[in-house]
Point group: C3
Chain length 311, copies 3
């Protein structure tokens, strides 16, 4: 794996391998590169969770994180993303984690850089490490994807997770259905059918809620939100209809009282904060995989100092 751009480009074998690796990290495995390794996180969109999660993953791997603030960078002076990336490569940064508001921004980079790019979200496109952490959370619960029914509910049209997850889950043997406002259902999504909200919630093993992205819906947004919980959200009443061992997921940040009743956020079925924890482990797995590939095989090497001194 040279880069990680979309979940679709991974085979199910590669996905399973990353999940196994992530589970090792969850159990306390330690892996560090054999020499000082610099990385940069280029976030051109606001983010707490993903950026901090990558940062924690990077620190746990002993990487040195070179700060990059989009707001005070040369991008303001009109520099292209390619030139910014090439600059970081030139000064010795060995991998880039990038979130950018442009769909498939990475087409501008791939094949032209010597260092790996990890996509941390592109426009309404992809967010592969989010998909991986969702898969890890489901696997921890059910041990396999075969025969599971997963309902993805909400703003499917704008979500960079819905499509990636539907694609991966289907390939791994699960059945996916979509629900939420019909106008947000993308007819072109071949991986799943639309189901009415009450049916979707009552019959699924995983109720995966999507966030309403206020920042992407300027018009009618407030009207929509007013009655969203009642019409398409996870109310306490709907939660009672869920299958016995079914779980609740949400990529967060949560709009409390919109996608989900605030009281359910930390209920017994909720895996919302577990997802965040798992995010660190899947990112460690991805980083280890691309760095080890790049460096040619020092996987599983362990060092008991922060880095060895080159000479």
């Amino acid at each position: 794996m040279r880069n990680l751009l979309t979940i679709s480009e991974l085979t199910t074998m590669e996905i399973e391998q990353l999940l196994v690796e992530a589970e090792q990290f969850a159990k306390g495995e330690v892996w560090k590169p054999s020499k000082q390794t610099m990385i940069a996180n280029l976030f051109f969109e606001a983010s707490t969770r993903t950026k901090s999660s990558f940062e924690v993953a990077e620190r746990k791997l002993g990487l040195e994180v070179i700060p990059f603030e989009a707001g005070s960078s040369s991008v303001l002076k009109g520099e292209t993303l390619y030139d910014t990336a090439k600059t970081l490569e030139s000064i010795g940064v060995e991998a880039l984690v990038i979130r950018h508001e442009t769909d498939q921004y990475f087409n501008e980079l791939v094949g032209k850089l010597k260092i790996p790019v990890i996509n941390a979200g592109d426009g309404c496109g992809h967010h592969p490490t989010q998909s991986l952490l969702d898969l890890m959370t489901i696997k921890q619960e059910f041990h396999s994807f075969k025969g599971l029914k997963i309902a993805i509910i909400g703003d499917i049209l704008h979500s960079r997770v819905a499509r990636s997850n539907a694609d991966a889950l289907t390939r791994l043997g699960a059945t996916v259905v979509f629900s939420g406002p019909p106008e947000w259902f993308n007819q072109s999504m071949s991986q799943g059918n639309y189901e009415a909200i009450d049916e979707a919630i009552a019959s699924s093993d995983v109720v995966m809620l999507l966030r309403i992205q206020h920042e992407r819906h300027h018009q009618n947004s407030e009207k929509m939100i007013d009655c969203y919980l009642e019409k398409y959200g996870l109310t306490k009443k709907r939660e009672k209809t869920m299958k016995k061992r079914a779980i609740i997921m949400h990529p967060a940040p949560i709009n409390r009282g919109v996608e989900i009743d605030s009281e359910l956020v930390e209920c017994e079925r909720s895996r919302i904060f577990k997802q965040m924890e798992n995010g660190v482990y899947v990112r460690m797995a991805v980083l280890k995989t691309v760095l080890a590939e790049k460096k040619g095989g020092n996987i599983h090497e362990e060092t008991n100092q922060k880095w060895s001194i080159a000479r």
Copy 2:
């Protein structure tokens, strides 16, 4: 000590202990947690001094500081402070240092997080590490608080330091008086009386100036400032009336020529930059105390590598 939210919640014994610990750090004591420990500084208000001071303290303790920029965080997407804090806890951050513009923002968090919160300033409320560094600076000078007279001068009403300091100093045996514009004197402050500026300065062992917080006084602010130094500030003339061993303190940032004549900022009596230096040591003491409590007792353990490798 699980959290540090206000100085009032500390017993005088606990305050004295923290000052002893801080003095040890000033003398070069080294303490590091026995394993890699992550911390985050959440500053929702502008700050150089406090944020950098915590950062230096954290680095001296060998902590890994996970960057958090309020301006590009999910708070912009409407996430609650609780959800942000819980997210950081979920991804493995082990303590939070928070400054927030809301008075007692911490009520939303305390008892609901598994990790300690250190208050780095809440609205017009509290700023306990600033109080501690003020106390440390006074103690270094006079060795005891008993019998000292301390004049707190300026914008008492909006200061998060005035009340905390008055409370702690009184409990430790000092006498506190307030001075400055009478309209900024809070009648409800039982810890001290109001004194005229010339009398307060001439008779005190510590002249503690407060900063005029332009950002909190929109109206009349400029008119006030025009004659502030003459009416309520520390002029060179008033400095000459000070007691022989009396010292000058200011929490900074300083408005030169407003609260204090610019030439006095680094005069012999001034402890202003000494206060900043001490800030690092009291923050190390606070961090050590909450982390050691949380982890159950590896205080005074020393390691000669950055962290041990868990297995």
Copy 3:
């Protein structure tokens, strides 16, 4: 060398020493201070390249970088640069790297701080580490400066590099000519004459393009840019007239299609990304030199742990 403020203040001997040191770092030399050392990068102007380059250099030297964000600092509360710098000194920061929009901002600091200041750009004034990296790149190519002809082309008037480079190159034995829009040629620059663009490009060993600083040219800027490449830029046609071993340099960020045809940015003659790589090495050399001077001679000491534990 106590500080590094301008290239003019360095003797040619000192310049040559820094280049030798930088070349050592390029070859993999490792140097770290013998104890934990904190540094801060104060960038009051947008920057990717210079800030990240210093950051990488600092990490390679094992320094701890204390984050400083001008946009959320007390400078917003009206604090002077001196008080901000003194604050950082007080809390234990051991060197400051500063970029500021004010010409010679450092006059406010020099002689009043105990810690070294490294100028990372002052207004339209100086940018000594940029000059050093340019010199290093030229030296790598031609081994000596004697007899070389260097054309500096573009916005000479506003460039903080043009004058510094012209000064240093002349002292080191090269001949400098200037070209570009005549209205941007500063008659007072004694280090070189103005040459027409075609002649300058065809006859020089180094074609050093300067960036058009949109952020400094509000009026007529767009009109200027429209025909800039044709009139004063490095077109593919002009590149063909260059001397056999002549090289292309640009401090970046590049305005592709303005100063240079986009296709030439990574052509065989281009040393643009090499310059960036060299930036890390010259900054390591500068940091080592000022820190070793300050600490009194632990140069060339090597440690095989991040820092030793003081006791």
